[in-house]
């Protein structure tokens, strides 16, 4: 069932498009720059259509099925977002258009900044970072600059709990600081004693994911924030899991100094494929002037109620600088704006309430079938252990692969690292109870199969275009690009499917 590559179906002389005759004077190009061997596929239009339609049918996406990939918030993105982003006034706006000619776009950015600040309780927001990891880097660079501006050069450490997103310690290193890992206690919260012992005048701040990657809301969050503030450090919240908190908790009001949002998670902009994303950053009083630029600001207040203000792109006063060309990924701003505008304040609150309810519904119904290491009310996601007492060779990976046979995308597996055989399940708010029930039934059926016919799990998946892939070989033999066109006729389908 392997689809040949576009090169496999190429044949010399086939073509899909006839180019029109040249209607401008021909210019000769420097011969040394001209190539004759381009190795481009030669195919007819129908072949191209079939090839890509067939490939698209092998794709699995939220538009085709349930996708409970933990900590990724694979919610459904309303299609109206796409309509709005394609409005010609937004889609065709050139980034070098002057401010007067882009007032509508700047007004949208300004309003989105204000809404995000309101949702999280911060003083100001920058939409500049291109994705979550860049948002994290911005936040930590802001903390660093804040200390340096005060002449405090001793603060080189950032505390990171072991239940954090993996990007957190990486961000710290990238910012030239040192990550210090903190253990979790038996409830999955930060170990307060270890935190207090680590707090001294070398701590620049703490980076904490709330809710954590265990899907737990830090029950002593105020004590954690106070401990760090008391030693002169600042608090960074990884807001990637903000889908659990909207309309319920405002991180800025808890005392956080800076946070990033993942618009591609919480605010339904496209997800995956490497971007483009938006890792907006919000900051409180201490750090708001350090935000990355440019942000949309009111540069001229209106003279009366009828008139609109004049917006402009400006750098915050003590900005850490610019992270990316122009103003960030504007198309994402339009989609997130649309999402918030459509939901309104009550709708935004309902999103988080339903996300949390859905996760808890699954957790409660699976708790007698699978081991749940932290058996308490979870946030928008929860972890279970993908193994069974007395069956040594069934692992989380086997359960994940078997789920594919039931038409369900596997949850995140082997993360967080602190839970053995972890399966991290996040249903999101957009799923109906019937879908959650189908998932629960599949998980229970798989547990039964693990006891009665473990081979079924170990050899899964069985119904996908290719069965179990050789992950070891894939990790060791990095072949990252297509080689020259394969001699397709000499390879039979049977030989190929053994790949």
């Amino acid at each position: 069932m392997t689809e040949p590559t576009i090169y496999d179906i190429s044949a010399p002389g086939r073509r899909g498009v006839l180019l029109p005759d040249v209607d401008v004077p021909e210019t000769s190009l420097p011969t040394e720059l001209l190539r004759t061997e381009l190795n481009l596929p030669e195919v007819g239009e129908l072949q191209v259509i079939r090839h890509f339609v067939n490939l698209s049918k092998k794709n699995y996406s939220i538009d085709s099925g349930f996708y409970p990939l933990g900590s990724c918030t694979m919610k459904y993105n309303p299609k109206i977002n796409e309509d709005m982003a394609r409005l010609p006034g937004f889609a065709q706006l050139h980034p070098l258009t002057d401010e007067e000619g882009s007032q509508g776009a700047l007004a949208l950015m300004y309003q989105l900044q204000e809404w995000l600040a309101e949702i999280s309780g911060f003083k100001a927001v920058s939409l500049a970072p291109a994705a979550g990891a860049q948002g994290e880097l911005a936040g930590i660079l802001m903390i660093r600059k804040y200390h340096l501006d005060r002449g405090d050069r001793k603060r080189t450490k950032i505390l990171v709990p072991n239940s954090a997103h993996g990007t957190n310690p990486a961000t710290v290193s990238m910012a030239g600081l040192q990550a210090v890992e903190l253990p979790s206690d038996e409830n999955g919260d930060v170990d307060l004693k270890a935190l207090q012992a680590a707090c001294d005048d070398t701590v620049a701040g703490m980076m904490i994911t709330v809710p954590s990657t265990l899907g737990l809301f830090e029950s002593q969050i105020l004590d954690v924030i106070q401990a760090v503030h008391d030693c002169g450090g600042l608090m960074y919240m990884d807001g990637a899991n903000m889908n659990a908190l909207m309309g319920v908790v405002k991180p800025g009001e808890l005392g956080f100094d800076v946070m990033h949002y993942n618009l591609h998670k919480t605010f339904s902009t496209p997800h995956g494929g490497g971007g483009p994303g938006c890792g907006a950053v919000g900051a409180g009083e201490k750090l708001k002037d350090y935000l990355p630029g440019p942000t949309s600001q009111i540069v001229e207040a209106p003279t009366d109620d009828e008139e609109a203000p004049l917006y402009g792109l400006r750098a915050p006063e003590k900005t850490i600088g610019q992270l990316k060309a122009f103003q960030g990924n504007f198309g994402m701003h339009v989609r997130a704006y649309t999402y918030i505008r459509i939901h309104g304040d009550q709708g935004i609150k309902d999103i988080s309430r339903h996300a949390v309810l859905n996760a808890n519904y699954i957790r409660a119904r699976l708790k007698d079938t699978y081991k749940i290491p932290y058996p308490r009310i979870c946030a928008h996601e929860f972890v279970l252990e993908g193994h069974f007492e007395g069956i040594d060779d069934i692992h989380a990976l086997d359960i994940s692969k078997r789920l594919m046979d039931y038409g369900i995308h596997p949850p995140t597996n082997y993360f967080p690292l602190i839970v053995p055989e972890a399966l991290l399940i996040e249903p999101t708010e957009t799923e109906a109870k019937a879908t959650l029930d189908e998932f629960i039934d599949a998980m229970k059926k798989i547990a039964q199969e693990a006891h009665e016919n473990p081979e079924l799990l170990k050899t899964a998946p069985h119904v996908t275009p290719v069965s179990r892939l050789d992950e070891v070989r894939a990790a060791k033999q990095l072949v990252l690009c297509c080689g020259p066109a394969l001699p397709s006729l000499s390879v039979t389908a049977g030989e190929r499917s053994g790949d």
Partner: protein, 130 residues
């Protein structure tokens, strides 16, 4: 004996490295528990001979299909040998973690540093309770 193989003549660190001490040199690898938890190992990053390692600090990396983990030094010293066979065949660690898949040899700064490490019985209990 527990579920994992933990030879009695070795000492073990909480971070799952084993150490065999002979005079003022030591051989270091990762335990059967560690290789079993990591699953198929696909990559090992080794230090250079002559490098200084410090107790509790990372001296290399093992990467499996599941995760990448730092190798943490159970003692301080100077690297006198590395098992370069692991660079091409890291899967040796899955097959023979205490034999062919030793990772580094170290000249110890202070042999008494190893006293605080666990013996095999203590390590077995430690693994069982995780």
């Amino acid at each position: 004996m527990g579920k994992w193989n933990t030879p009695a003549d070795l000492k073990y660190a909480k971070t799952d490295e084993w150490i065999r001490i002979e005079g003022d040199t030591a051989t270091i690898g990762i335990s059967d528990y560690a290789q079993d938890s990591l699953n198929d190992i696909v990559f090992v990053e080794l230090p250079e001979v002559g490098a200084k390692i410090a107790k509790g600090e990372a001296f290399g990396v093992v990467e499996s299909v599941k995760a990448a983990s730092d190798l943490s030094a159970p003692v301080s010293g100077t690297v006198t040998g590395i098992n370069s066979e692991l660079e091409d065949t890291p899967e040796l660690i899955n097959g023979d973690p205490y034999g062919k898949a030793w990772i580094i040899k170290v000249k110890l700064d202070n042999a008494s540093e190893a006293d605080s490490l666990m013996d095999s019985a203590a390590y077995d209990t430690y693994c069982e309770n995780r």
